[in-house]
Each structure stands twice: as C-alpha cells, then as structure tokens.
Symmetry: C2
Subunit: 294 residues, 2 copies
C-alpha cells in the first residue's frame, strides 16, 4: 500500500481521481491521507493536519511509500512540525516535486532518507500523459536495485563534459526560498537539478543570480536544467533560456544539460536524491548508481 | 542638478518625459545618464553601462542627488560593479524603491550613505498622481534638517505600540532576494519597511516565512507594511492581507502598521534609510529624527 498526501496546496478532486486510477494501473494500492481533500485558502487544510497526515503515513508499517498529490504552495509551513526521529526510524520512499522540493531537501539532509524527485498523483499523473515516465517511475521504485541510464534526445548541451556526484536540487523558486533558513539546500559536490514553471525570465535570472551570490554553484559537479515550461525571455523572443543560463552561470568546465525531463513537462524522470549519478553530455544521459530504494 | 539613472529595467520614454516634467516643476534640474534609454531585453542596457551611469553621477560634483528612473529588475547585477570607496568619498542623496531596494541596502550597509526609499522619476512621478508625496519628497530632500512626522489616516493597526529604531527594508521580493548573498539586508533593531506589488498571497506568505525562518524578524522594533497593491488572498476574498501577516508574524509586542504609503501606491513617503524613526500606532505615524541629508 502507498500513502497519498497533500502537504502543500489544495487538490482538485477530479485530477486526484484520475491520478489514483493511473497509479492503481501501475499496481500500487493507494491509501488517502485523512485531510487530503481539505482546503484552507491556498493550502490543503491546516498546517497541523497536513503534517499529521504525513507523520501518520510514516508510522503506518503497511504503507511502503508516500506519494504527494501535488505541490502548489505550503510544504515549508509544515517542516517544523515533522519529527525527524520518527522519520529516521521509518524510512520509506517519498515522491514529489515543485513546492515539495523543500520537503525532499529536508528528508535528505535532516532525516537520512533518499527522497524521490518525480511525478505527483494529482498534479502530474492526474493532468498529463506521462507515458514513458510511468514505466521509469515503476522501474525506479519497484524494479531491480540497478539504477540504469536515463536518456532524453530532446536535451541540449550547454556545456560539454562528464561528471559524477550526488543528485540534489529541484524547483528553483524553492531552492531560493530555502536560503538562510534551517532548511537551506546543500549543493556542494552534487549534480544539481534546476527546474521551474510559469516564471518570467527576469525572475529566473534573479533566482540564478541569488543562488550564485549565495555560493550555491561552488563545488557543483554538473547541472541538469528542466524544460522551464512557460518561462519565456519575452514576447516574440525565443523561449530558450539557454543564453540567460550561459550569461549568469560561472564560466567553468562542469557539464550542463538543458531541457531535461525533470520538471513540469509531459514527461518527467523519477530521480532518487542523494544517490550518485553520472551526467554525460555526449550521450545526453544521467546514469544512476542505484535506484535508492533500500 | 540631479542625475537621473536607470540601473534596473528599461524605461518607457513617455513616462520618463512626464516624470522629468514633474521633478522640474519641483525645482530640480535633471541630467540624464548616458545609457538611461538603453534596452537589453528586461534590462536598461548592459550591466557595465548601467553601473557606469551611476558611478559617473557619484563622481560629478555638480550632481547633488541621484534619482532612479524606475525599478523592474536588474539592480542586483550591477552591485559588484560599483566602487564603495568612490561612493563613500562622494556621498549624495539617492532615491529609489521596488527593485532598487537592493541598491539602497548596499549603499546603506556598505557605502555609509543614507539612501532614500521613495518615488522614482518614471515609475512613480511619471505614472501616478503623487500629490501629497511631491510636497513631502521636496521637504525631506531640500527642506530643513528636521525630519517631521508622517501620518496617514488610511493605515491599519495590526499591533499597537510605540517603537524607535533605524529605518530599514523595502520591497519584500528583494529583501528575500538578498538572503545569503553579500548584499543581505540587516534588520536588527530596525523599523522594518515591507511592501510589494502584484504578488499572489501564497508568494507573500512564502516570502514572509523565509524572512522569519532566516531570523530577519529577530530584534526588529516595529514593522511598517505598504499597501501591497494587487496582492490578493484570492478571487472573491478580501484584499486585506492583514490576517496572513498576523498568522505568520511572531507573536510579540512590537507595533505593526499596515496599508502605509511606502510602496507602489498613488502616494508614497520618501524615507531616509538608516535614520532613526519612531513608529507610533496611536497616531498612525512615523516620526523621523532628521531628514538624513548631510
């Protein structure tokens, strides 16, 4: 059985129903959190209730994995309400992305887990085709322990090279939101995932500037940019942000791939954070050392 | 003579013309920066040129004050290109707000200046009525050294009290953008100004959460919120964010005024940052110890 929770924004019941059908079709038996359908303005219910749903799933030994229903906003507000000791004693697969980035960072850095940056029940499976992604999602979570190689021909090489490091990162807005807080992302020696959606180019520029000024590109081994859906440079201009990335990123020899399926697109890799991966721009691939499930 | 520069986003020529007329009407003789009409996508020209315009104005002894044309985005990119030594040797009045917040913080904290959080030539005077604000702008910048008391009957008292501290802060997006960078805002012992425009409520919530988690409310003596124009809680909901402020702000005894004219509204106080001020919720006022012009 897998738990389905909504630790951030309110969930659309139809998208959730569709998404539950998709994960059932993949062989998972979903159990809904008590407050998954709650709504409190831009949050899926009270902070205490959203945190409680998550902690209940960790403590229920029948639950083998926890899938987030969607992101939106608000997972930051429940981080102080989670108990790292209980989570450490009950390690399990947790999958999410977008706003959930802050939860994943917390689980990785403070709770000793390997959390998964990947599709969500309502927000991804409930709204998008996700054909290839379903196969890879299943393979990573319940397949053999080998990580395998993920390739995507649509990626673009911003800087050539090969590098090995632990997977870190997620949604750019949340990476910046973590700075100077007790939940700040650690990026050193990592293969850094950076993705976002619906942000004007100037804001993407500002966020990358902040990560750089905060020293978060120091010691990074390689960078994997997502599709950055609807993050345009401006009316009539190319929707490719590559020139912006090149302008603000440090001139260095680390490999950088852009337009990778790691964000808000119609396909999305499921990636175990904290697991060692090899980024290779020649083969436009990311090879995982293992699947991260223990 | 006063210098007019565009250190952030590109300037609309008509708004600039209107704004120049307004400041001429107030008795100022404007001198335009060489690159003030440049445009480079979302920036008013190259970083080097925008920085150069500002440094030229500091070094020109005929220029008594520097007024920013508008905000937008991009002042962060020129901060490393400014020379604090030259600025320290040529202290003068600098006025701006919104994106210019990061420049004001830098001038206050690293260059020993008293910068002014206030209306801009194109973005404020060029677009908005600014009737009362014109009088106060002139009074602060070229009036007597006494600071005087600023009152606004439209303000709302979120938390009662009286407090004294140095004025700090500005646009919330930029206060967060400064975190963990070499340009990070220092708020301790201050009367903290917080304003923003066109941001959804969930993002305001996230930014206030970050300031709090980063310890930026620690030691703050009082808070002055701006009008937060077009930052709504949601469709059909009240546009008052006071309940959101109350939810996220630390339960304490510091005075908090909301809906103050310190942001993107039709009137806007001109406030000398770093100058001691007394916030008093009984009289809905801010009393400046002096005008900050030396």
């Amino acid at each position: 059985m897998v738990g389905v929770v909504a630790p951030a924004g309110p969930v659309d019941p139809e998208h959730l129903e569709t998404g539950l059908g998709v994960i059932r079709g993949m062989g998972f038996e979903p159990v809904l959190g008590r407050y998954v359908n709650d709504r409190n303005n831009f949050l899926a219910g009270k902070d205490e209730d959203r945190a409680d749903d998550l902690m209940v799933m960790f403590q229920n030994t029948d639950i083998k994995a926890i899938f987030c229903a969607r992101g939106g906003y608000g997972v930051n507000r429940i981080l102080p309400l989670l108990d790292p000791k209980i989570i450490r004693k009950n390690p399990k697969v947790v999958v999410g992305s977008s706003d959930i980035t802050l939860l994943l960072i917390h689980l990785l850095q403070k709770c000793g887990l390997v959390p998964f940056h990947g599709p969500m029940v309502s927000g991804s499976f409930g709204c998008k085709p996700m054909k290839i992604s379903k196969t890879q999602f299943r393979k990573v979570l319940v397949g053999d322990k080998e990580g395998g190689r993920l390739t995507a021909p649509q990626t673009r090489v911003l800087q050539e090279g090969t590098a090995r490091g632990k997977l870190v990162g997620g949604c750019l807005t949340l990476l910046c939101r973590s700075l100077k807080t007790p939940y700040e992302v650690q990026t050193r020696d990592g293969i850094l995932l950076i993705e976002d959606v619906n942000e004007p180019a100037y804001r993407i520029d500002g966020m990358l500037w902040q990560l750089k000024a905060a020293g978060k590109f120091r010691g990074v081994k390689g960078i994997v940019f997502g599709e950055m859906i609807n993050c345009r440079l401006g009316e009539g201009l190319s929707d490719k942000l590559d020139s912006l990335f090149q302008d603000i990123l440090p001139k260095s020899s680390i490999p950088i791939l852009t337009n990778c399926p790691v964000g808000h697109g119609n396909e999305m890799w499921t990636l175990p954070l904290g697991v060692e991966a090899t980024l290779d721009t020649d083969s436009q691939s990311l090879r995982l050392k293992n699947n991260g499930v223990s």
